[in-house]
């Protein structure tokens, strides 16, 4: 859980050797092979469909519900009602339609997850290349800072940072998640860059007089980024889960923001009192979202990590 997200998302995935699989008869580049594999994989197709559905909840909720962005019509007097023909998922603690509410909650979660993933990937790839390609004192500094941040268990670190920040919004939650999750990406990118740096084609490019920039961008980056892309996909799910967890603990998004974490926290005590629908539907939406990204990440790992073939 998250947890550490570095621990939540996965054990330190060893940097995959990125040389193209040579034992195939019609073997293209790593990426061509991966693409072919992906489009044949039912898991990937299913997860892509799920991701598209979840993304559309966030991007165009009007496709799914005609309630406006304000959560639709909420009648406090109609709160906690069970599922009926009028409200297929029942109503929330505030008397809003649970179905519309669950759909609308996707937006903040997805915004945080996508933003944090993009930012951590950018930071991680940049620092990983700097440390792995140039080595020397730059590598030492980056690696030691990475170690220090990895020393904080993920959820504990986020909990402390957020409770110290005092103000909690989408941006502070994102900031804290970024601060705690760039180190694993940096470490994996660094390892991957070091593995690729020693390969013959990089030597050949250098012998032909290629500049550092062209070696990095044309040879090293495309051949070393695969494990990072896999991890980033898994991270998307991990961040959705981490945001919900932190919000549930009370240090994440706060009312009047909406989040599955808040809805679940509110439903928790009432569900014990006989309103299970307050819990079941937001939990289902959250699980579906995380599942979609994790399935996609798994399928990508199978396709991009030649060892698994």
């Amino acid at each position: 859980m998250t947890e550490s997200l570095n621990t939540e998302v996965g054990p330190t995935a060893a940097p995959a050797p990125t040389e193209p699989a040579g034992d195939r008869e019609r073997s293209g580049s790593l990426w061509a092979d991966a693409r072919r594999e992906l489009f044949r994989s039912p898991v990937f197709l299913l997860s892509t469909l799920l991701v598209l559905v979840v993304m559309s909840w966030a991007a165009v909720p009007s496709l799914w519900t005609d309630a406006g962005s304000d959560g639709g019509r909420c009648e406090l007097i109609e709160n906690n009602q069970g599922p009926s023909s009028e409200h297929i998922f029942g109503t929330t603690v505030q008397g809003c339609d649970m179905y519309a509410h669950v759909i609308l909650c996707a937006r903040p979660s997805i915004i945080i997850a996508v933003f944090v993933t993009l930012a951590t990937t950018l930071i991680g790839v940049a620092l990983g290349i700097l440390a792995g390609f140039y080595g020397g004192w730059l590598d030492s500094i980056v690696s030691r800072i990475t170690d220090v941040f990895l020393g904080l268990p993920f959820i504990l670190g986020a909990l402390v940072f957020l409770s110290l920040l005092g103000s909690q919004s989408i941006w502070t939650v994102s900031l804290v998640l970024i601060a705690l999750s760039w180190p694993p990406i940096t470490r994996i990118m660094r390892g991957s860059v070091i593995a690729v740096k020693g390969l013959d084609y990089v030597e050949a490019a250098r012998a032909l007089g290629a500049s550092n920039a062209s070696i990095v961008f044309r040879h090293i980056l495309p051949n070393s980024i695969a494990p990072v892309i896999v991890l980033a996909t898994l991270y998307l799910g991990g961040f959705v889960s981490a945001e919900a967890t932190l919000t549930f603990l009370g240090v994440g998004l706060q009312i009047p923001e909406i989040s599955w974490g808040i809805t679940i926290a509110q439903g928790q005590s009432l569900a014990v009192a006989g309103y299970p629908h307050l819990l079941v539907f937001p939990c289902a939406a959250l699980i579906l979202t995380v599942l979609a990204f994790i399935l996609m990440g798994d399928a990508m790992r199978d396709a991009l990590d030649p060892r698994g073939r």
Binding site: M1, S4, F154, L156, V160, F248, L286
Partner: protein, 333 residues
Amino acid sequence: MGRYIARRLLQFVPVLFGTMFLLHYMQSLSVQINGNPVRALFGDRQPPPETLAAITRAFSLDDPCLNQTGNPCVGLFVDRIINYSQGDFGIDFNERAITALIADAAPITIRLTLIAVLFEAVVGILAGVLAGIRKDGVTDNLIRITTTLVISVPVFVLGVLVQILSGVYIGVWLEDNGAPEWLSAMFSVSYQADHPWASLVIPGVVLGAFSLGFIARLTRTSLIETLRADYVRTARAKGLGRRRVVGVHALRNSLIPVITYIGIDLGALMGGAIVTEGIFNVPGIGGLVFGAVARGETPIVIAVVTLLTLVFLLASLLVDVLYAVLDPRIRYD
């Protein structure tokens, strides 16, 4: 290997101080930006200045560097490290020593973690082996689907759902049907001091579930890889039974990464313990943090997290050293 261990120990020192400093700097920045946290104690009331000053001094928040935004407060950091090394982790807002609070809570959390680790290791490895020995079989696919599902459920979601299911539905049914007391304690909504182990079983299972998924996958991959190794083929060629080849030859080697994972996983378990203990009302260390966050008592949060981080760092150090002992092939550079 001796050199590797020495290097790893040397690396541990800067990481230890670096992590402590990171926590310290965040705390200082928070005071510098948000102001004196002691004020929050009084809410809307205006405390007498001397009371405020006394409490502020008691938390050593009177250092002038805490008024300069961005100042890393190195002097304060040194004081803090000295205090930590003497076992002084400060006091909470009720002037109880935080070490005493932790000492009360720790046994419960250690029991909870033990249950979680035992559950995730036993069930996880078993599932991983069942899936690994018949790759792509029915059991394998079933276990792969289940583990993916388990990994996709955040700990707190599993916690609240299981709490209702076990506490409300199963628990009530058991009570109505006159089940023994320990059994209904096991399925109760919250922790019961009379049943220190039984009432922690369900929270422990919830806590361990996430890692169980990872352990099962890791065991599976690792076993599949080992079963392809030459020495396994040799063992088979000698005519050894399948049971012996898998159980003795292959499993021992494929469990190395799994053991490492269980060690590293301690960090995730600590985070998870906050969630699980909060949900099931377990008065352990996680429950302490959960409550402190809710009440805004940051000194407790910081002190406990610092202590847990120390435990986590020591555990990862131990795991690394153990790894070198278990797997002599590891590259030591």
